[in-house]
């Protein structure tokens, strides 16, 4: 064991909530969300920040503090995740560009955040390999390093059921970072993976000792063992000192605090890939091994709880796809009757949050605005009804519906919760 298991646990019952199923659609209607309002004095990015207290001295007449050892956020900014017992959600509507600041990356833990001493950290790779090997963190860092920007999204990332929901509350379990590490293919060549191997097991060093089975093709494609996030070491909440990264695949498989990889000739059928992260189909069966995150987008401005004014409004949002690049985002400002292409602000990267914008001259009439993403495989983001048509009664994981914002005549913006039955 490389894990220091002495991290402080909550009470038995409080901790037990951590293993509860991700709050997914079926539960949401009857459940009040704890934090209905987004953080920040104003939450729409722009030059409209609340001015400081009137007694603030004129900074052009008073020298400020000298250089410091660590930069800080302006005290006028109050970005926050929304934590629950099981996860905490990224304030998508409060961020610029495509990178999620590391402390605002969403979190989903199954046994809390372990404290792992990087000096004692080890990654064991064994099973169908020629040379079962133990790598220290220092070993991992000696290999040729790779950095890439990609999103990470929890498979259970859709909430609905009321109009007072922000993007953070609807789908804040997606975030993006620049990850640095060693390609898993490099490590697999190092240990001499048996050509007959078809799957590998990834195991975390947390209290859940979380395991997932992963097809070996992903290792040869673009999987990596990441130890860097946005230019520094991983945050503990993101798997410090090392995690598995599977670009474009559901968050749960990107095993944090990774301590062991067992190369095998079949899936292990772990709890996380059987009784969780599976969903019911129309024919009464259950869909398993749902790896890909399909194309999705959401307008992050304007959104609840904004109030807009008549005239020019820049519609802004994020689009992403686990299959590849976003090729277009279409915007409707007339409740889905007509669509026009949004502008994709660069960089447009593979398996990455992509920023889109669309100028709109609002005439002051009540309407709905929507966004719809398409990726380079030709896949287009579906409506909630289209998704529900293929699913059983309990919608849950892998929900990526087109999301509408209702604009009232008075300019107030509300989420439009849709029925699917």
């Amino acid at each position: 064991m490389t894990t220091d298991k002495k991290f402080s646990r909550r009470t038995l019952l409080a901790s037990a909530a951590a293993t509860a199923t991700l709050t997914v659609l079926g539960k949401v209607a009857g459940q009040s969300l704890k934090t209905p309002n987004p953080p920040g004095p104003t939450h729409t990015p722009g030059p409209t920040h609340t001015p400081g207290p009137t007694h603030t001295l004129d900074p052009t007449h008073t020298p400020g503090p000298p250089p410091s050892a660590l930069g800080t956020r302006s005290r006028f900014e109050s970005l926050k995740l929304i934590p629950s017992d099981t996860s905490s959600r990224t304030p998508l509507q409060s961020l610029y560009g495509i990178i999620t600041p590391s402390d605002l990356h969403f979190q989903r833990h199954h046994g809390g955040v372990p404290k792992i001493d990087p000096e004692k950290y080890q990654l064991l790779i064994h099973g169908m390999v020629e040379r079962p090997t133990v790598f220290t963190l220092k070993d991992l860092k000696r290999f040729p390093a790779l950095s890439r920007i990609c999103f990470l999204e929890c498979a259970g990332n859709f909430r609905t059921g009321k109009t007072e929901l922000t993007p953070q509350e609807i789908c804040g379990l997606t975030s993006q970072a620049e990850w640095t590490g060693v390609p898993l293919s490099t490590l697999f060549r190092e240990v001499g993976v048996d050509p007959k191997a078809t799957w590998f097991l990834a195991e975390g060093g947390d209290a859940a000792v979380l395991t997932r089975s992963i097809p070996i093709r992903k290792a040869w494609d673009d999987a990596m063992i990441a130890y860097g996030q946005n230019g520094e070491a991983l945050r503990p909440e993101q798997g410090y000192p090392a995690r598995l990264l599977l670009p474009g695949w559901e968050g749960n498989m990107n095993v944090k605090w990774i301590r062991r990889i067992e190369v095998s000739d079949g899936p292990f059928q772990t709890r996380e890939e059987t009784s969780k992260y599976t969903y019911s189909l129309k024919n009464g069966k259950y869909s398993q091994f749902n790896f890909l995150i399909d194309a999705r987008s959401i307008i992050t401005a304007p959104c609840y709880p904004d109030t807009i004014e008549k005239g020019w409004v820049e519609i802004r949002g994020l689009a992403w796809s686990g299959r590849g690049q976003i090729t277009r985002v279409d915007i409707s400002t007339d409740a889905g009757r007509s669509w026009q292409p949004a502008h994709l602000n660069g960089p447009v990267l593979e398996k990455a949050h992509t920023r889109f914008t669309c100028l709109w001259n609002w005439d002051g009439e009540e309407t709905e605005i929507l966004s719809r993403a398409t990726d380079d495989t030709g896949y287009t983001q579906p409506t909630l009804k289209e998704i529900a048509a293929t699913r059983g009664p309990d919608l849950g994981y892998h929900m990526n519906p087109i999301t509408a914002w209702h604009i009232q005549k008075d300019g107030r913006v509300f989420f439009k919760p849709e029925k699917w039955k």
């Binding site: 064991m1 646990r9 038995l12 019952l13 037990a16 909530a17 951590a18 293993t19 509860a20 199923t21 199954h110 046994g111 064991l124 790779i125 064994h126 099973g127 040379r131 079962p132 090997t133 133990v134 790598f135 220290t136 070993d139 000696r142 290999f143 040729p144 490099t186 060549r189 190092e190 001499g192 097991l201 195991e203 209290a207 859940a208 000792v209 979380l210 395991t211 097809p215 301590r259 062991r260 067992e262 095998s264 079949g266 899936p267 292990f268 059928q269 772990t270 709890r271 059987t274 009784s275 009464g284 069966k285 259950y286 869909s287 398993q288 091994f289 749902n290 790896f291 890909l292 399909d294």
Partner: protein, 200 residues
């Protein structure tokens, strides 16, 4: 350096043999240049240039010992490979359940407040109606339960708890003793309900 030269014509003296040899700096430079070309040619011919492709094997990390592997490799696939020695039945499991599990899962596994484990109604996804492999029950209890002290149950206790939960779900009889041989043979009701979707 040039300023230190005693005369305008630079030279080097080599005391290599019986005769004093005087070689002009120009000659040395020429020799060096030719030497470099020869070296370069030799390196290319002999393959001594820097590799453009990384090697398959860097030699980083250290060999894992069998003891390390045996003590860490706790994952149990449906074949049951790696199941530990030990055994347990429903009666033994019921006692452990009462003290270590009932607070979260309910006195009979049907009540909650957290994950309901027993029952076959469509509403609740239980071990009885939603878990396709019995080995997963053993694997998950051993690695992650109870939530406030995961990894502390003995193999006998885990076999007992698995037997209790499978028996409560009417999948095995109350008398069945589970061990490394009998556990993988259990056919779960949900086995054929799962369809892999990994090639979307």
């Amino acid at each position: 350096m040039h300023a230190a030269q005693p005369s305008g014509r630079s030279s080097a003296r080599i005391e290599g043999g019986p005769r004093r040899i005087r070689i002009s700096r120009l000659s040395l430079s020429l020799a060096g240049f030719v030497g470099c070309i020869l070296c370069l040619a030799w390196n290319i011919i002999a393959g001594h240039h820097q590799p453009e492709q990384p090697p398959d094997h860097f030699g980083f990390g250290r060999p894992a010992t069998q003891h390390e592997i045996d003590s860490e490799a706790i994952a149990i696939p449906p074949s049951g490979r790696g199941l530990p020695n030990g055994h347990g039945d429903s009666a033994a499991g019921a006692q452990i359940y009462k003290f270590k599990c009932a607070a979260c899962h309910g006195a009979h596994g049907t009540e909650g407040p957290y994950q309901k484990l027993v029952g076959d109604t469509g509403k609740n996804k239980t071990i009885g109606n939603y878990w396709p492999f019995a080995t997963t029950v053993f694997d998950y209890i051993r690695r992650a339960m109870p939530l406030n002290a995961p990894g502390t149950l003995s193999p006998d206790q885990v076999y007992g708890l698995t037997a209790y939960l499978l028996s409560a779900n009417k999948i095995i009889s109350a008398r069945t003793v589970l061990d490394a041989r009998s556990l993988p043979e259990i056919q779960m009701p949900a086995k054929d309900l799962f369809i892999p979707n990994d090639n979307r």
